[in-house]
């Protein structure tokens, strides 16, 4: 390669003036590192241009120096300013970093707190609802249990009545209240062979608590006690009576617990049995 020719080609001048193409620039940089003559020529051209630039010097406005320096970040190297500058720098730098994090932490914590509060409130509401539902279910359950018990009782008494009625020879004797108890209406289920006895009260006037109704059987003109009962609608099972014929059934009002002999003035109903 002819170095002198290359130097004379004008490529170095183009390079120094910033007018070289990328290809030329790479070429010049490569060749100048190989050929000292090219490197020297390049340095001289650069120096000439530097001198030209120096010749064009115009002092910039004084204020510009401070303005530019305020835009630059300086390393801490000055002995005198090192202590002074490090303080504000360490104080100023972390501030924009930590403050948003600080705020974010608070926002996050507050959000979590609110969320927990809302969730607790939700749970408490649910718990209250469930407790109310449970209480109403319990009361419904108790009411159902009562109904079932009542039905069971009714059922067992009904089945007893049914058993009594199914037995051959059981009679149904209707007793109607006289003028002393015009609404009185009941039936006596009685089996002559077994002596089993039951009452089915449709309606009977209420009594003071000191008094009870008493059932009597009449046989050969004589009254026999057949049990006391309260005027409660429904079936009353009484103790079986002596087997044998009965002429009639009668009901009187007696003191609580019953009387050995009936007070006839308080008779409210009497019905003869069917001829046996």
């Amino acid at each position: 390669m002819n170095v002198a020719e290359y130097i004379a080609s004008g490529t170095l001048e183009a390079y120094i003036l910033g007018a070289a193409s990328d290809q030329e620039r790479r070429e010049v940089e490569c060749l100048s590192s190989i050929y000292p003559e090219i490197k020297q020529e390049l340095d001289q051209l650069a120096l000439a241009l530097e001198d030209y630039a120096m010749a064009l010097s115009v002092e910039p406005p004084v204020a510009l120096r401070e303005q530019i320096m305020s835009q630059l970040t300086f390393g801490v190297t000055q002995k005198t300013t090192a202590a002074d500058e490090e303080e504000p720098e360490t104080k100023v730098l972390p501030m924009p970093d930590t403050r948003p994090i600080y705020n974010f932490t608070w926002i996050a914590a507050a959000s979590v707190g609110l969320l927990l509060l809302a969730f607790s409130f939700f749970l408490i509401t649910r718990l209250r609802d469930n407790q109310q539902a449970l209480a109403s279910l319990r009361s419904t359950n108790a009411a159902l249990q009562q109904d079932i018990n009542a039905l069971k009782t009714q059922q067992s008494s009904s089945s007893q009545v049914m058993a009594l009625l199914r037995q051959p020879g059981t009679q149904i004797i209707q007793l109607k209240g006289n003028e002393k108890a015009p609404d009185g209406n009941l039936a006596v289920y009685w089996n002559q062979q077994t002596g089993q006895l039951a009452l089915d009260i449709s309606s009977l006037p209420a009594l003071p608590s000191s008094q009870q109704y008493q059932l009597w059987t009449l046989k050969g003109g004589k009254p026999f006690d057949a049990g006391v009962f309260d005027p409660i609608t429904g079936v009353h099972h009484l103790h079986p009576i002596q087997q044998g014929t009965v002429d009639a059934f009668a009901i009187t009002i007696e003191q609580r617990g019953g009387s050995p002999t009936p007070h006839l003035e308080s008779l409210i109903a009497m019905t003869p049995t069917k001829a046996s």
Partner: protein, 188 residues
């Protein structure tokens, strides 16, 4: 012409600069800002813009100090290149921004007026450099014109040839001659 001697050797200066030493920057600024500002005024011919560009250039220099390689070239040359490229890039960008909008054409005329005013307004040259200015004036006008066109306007050789209506070969020869002349003027 006598160049101001740095009070530190260039390698020490560069080492200090790489640590972003404030004192080193101050020395750099005091040493080169006038030359860089003068070049910027040559390129944009408007003081306010030149000030902005000087600021931009120094920020670029400060942020790219690690890219400077003393083996590849002189520090001042590197500073000059960054400054010149900053200015030329800015001019190209503003030209590109103005071109597509016809309404801006009027404004371009206004700018021309400012440029003319700016030329009249150019502050007095640093008295230290008056002698140097005389030297520059000794350059042959057609050679000076070419250097200014290529170096300050960012023209390629081809663009300069087209603009001056000269053959490309003549442009290359004249540029070489102009730089050789500069070389001799300053070092004779």
């Amino acid at each position: 012409m006598k160049r101001t001697q740095p009070f530190v050797s260039e390698s020490v200066l560069i080492e200090k600069l790489s640590r972003r030493d404030q004192q080193a920057f101050q020395w750099l600024y005091d040493q080169y800002s006038a030359a860089l500002y003068g070049v910027l005024l040559k390129i944009v011919q408007e003081e306010e813009q030149a000030e902005d560009l000087l600021q931009e250039a120094f920020i670029k220099i400060w942020n790219n100090l690690d890219a400077y390689d003393a083996n590849k070239g002189r520090l001042f040359t590197w500073l000059l290149n960054i400054t010149r490229n900053t200015a030329i890039d800015s001019i190209r960008a503003s030209k590109a921004a103005h071109r597509p909008n016809p309404s801006k054409a009027i404004r371009t005329d206004e700018e021309n007026v400012y440029i003319v005013d700016g030329q009249h307004n150019t502050p007095p040259v640093n008295p230290d450099h008056i002698g140097v200015q005389d030297v520059v004036d000794q350059l042959r006008p057609e050679r000076k014109e070419l250097i200014d066109l290529v170096y300050f306007k960012g023209y390629t050789h081809e663009e300069a040839a087209e603009s001056l209506n000269l053959p490309l070969g003549t442009v290359k020869t004249r540029i070489r001659a102009a730089l050789q002349e500069l070389k001799q003027l300053f070092h004779s």
